[in-house]
């Protein structure tokens, strides 16, 4: 499927190989359509690098910090991690999830506040220009493993 359209400037990228090949990890059918799968793939890439650098035979636990603005469903993330980590150094690792509240700072008066119910308006001055100070994190905080 996919072909270059001669005589036009439309390029069909499957033929051009522009879709990056995903590693052949065992996953449940359809799981790759959720973005938690992309997140898990990135996590496993990092875990593989860490295990190599630190001579770990296996990873026993991974702690993630996830901001509440991120659209990560914990159950889906766990399911994706369990499925995709088979036959990797992280197989059987415990996944610890720590969630971070959404907090913001008003750029008009400087007031800091916790955002609840999607309400990003400053409670001090009713200003609508705010910047996020926490809540959009997607971080591998720490890893535990057994040395080789």
């Amino acid at each position: 499927m996919g072909s270059a359209c001669h005589g036009t400037r439309t390029t069909f990228c499957r033929a051009a190989g522009l879709v990056p090949k995903r590693p052949a990890r065992p996953v449940a059918k359809g799981l790759q359509t959720v973005h938690e799968f992309s997140i898990v793939e990135s996590i496993l890439d990092t875990l593989g690098e860490l295990a190599g650098k630190n001579r770990l035979a296996r990873i026993t636990s991974v702690t993630l910090t996830i901001g509440r603005l991120r659209q990560v469903v914990p159950e889906t993330l766990r399911f994706a991690f369990e499925a995709a980590s088979k036959d990797t150094v992280a197989h059987g690792a415990r996944l610890e999830l720590e969630f971070v509240d959404i907090r913001a700072r008003c750029t008009t008066c400087g007031a800091k506040f916790r955002v609840e119910n999607n309400y990003y308006i400053c409670g001090t001055c009713n200003g609508t220009s705010v910047e996020l100070t926490s809540g959009d994190e997607l971080i591998i905080q720490s890893v535990e493993g057994e040395e080789a």
């Binding site: 990056p20 992309s38 220009s129 591998i140 040395e147």
Partner: protein
């Protein structure tokens, strides 16, 4: 053995996105990432936009879909450079694909690149692709509660286009509730209410685009 890592999970995508952003800034090319549900009107909005920009701005399009080339073929008659990315099931575009797609364009001859992301209000908002800004495209027929349900996109977007306003009278869409929910999430985002089909309100979208391109592009 415990190792403190403190690494952004999407580091690899972010690094590529930052590279893309750097190249676009050096070339003074504006890249806009259109994100919205399937059927919100992203492709139709692009059809109208490309027609309006003819003779004003040189346009290129990166079209993202899970499957088929239908949207790319709809845009072909406009005779602008188009790259189609079929994601084979992935629900969003990532920066590596965008970088490779941009490499096929002559950026010295382009002012604006539109990325039509995979139809999805969730995942595309999570992945920086190096764009100047995300534009949320939603439609009256999806209901007025989408900003509350999908806050990340509406929080991150630089502009919001609400399409299909001609169908308001046939739905229960509460315009006041919708605009208020957007303002609560993002008080500074311009909200543009349009009907692509009836060509209503498009002038507000074109004005935003021209003002933004004027600031960013090489030869506005």
């Amino acid at each position: 053995m415990k190792i403190t890592v403190m690494k952004n999970i999407l580091n690899a995508n972010q690094n590529k996105a930052d590279e893309v952003r750097g190249v676009l800034a050096a070339k003074r090319v504006l890249m806009v990432n259109l994100i919205g549900s399937p059927g919100s009107g992203k492709t139709t909005l692009l059809e109208k936009t490309i027609a309006h920009c003819a003779g004003r701005f040189a346009i290129a399009v990166i079209e993202g879909d899970v499957a088929t080339d239908r949207d790319a073929r709809r845009l072909q008659p406009h005779n602008v450079p188009i790259v189609l990315i079929n994601t084979d099931g992935a629900c969003h575009l990532e920066s590596i694909s965008i970088q490779q797609a941009l490499d096929t364009f002559d950026l010295d001859t382009i002012d604006i690149v539109f990325v039509e992301n995979v139809g999805n209000l969730v995942c595309p908002a999570e992945f920086d692709i190096g764009e100047f800004g995300k534009v949320a495209v939603c439609s009256v027929t999806e209901g007025d509660d989408k900003p509350e349900k999908y806050p990340l996109l509406f929080r991150e977007a630089k502009a919001l286009v609400l399409n299909k306003i001609d169908l308001c009278e046939y739905t229960d869409f509460d315009m006041d509730a919708f605009t208020q929910s957007v303002t609560m999430l993002n008080g500074t985002i311009p909200q543009m209410h349009i009907s692509c089909r009836r060509e209503k309100g498009l002038d507000t979208w074109f004005a935003w685009l021209e003002e933004t391109a004027g600031r960013v592009c090489r030869n506005p």
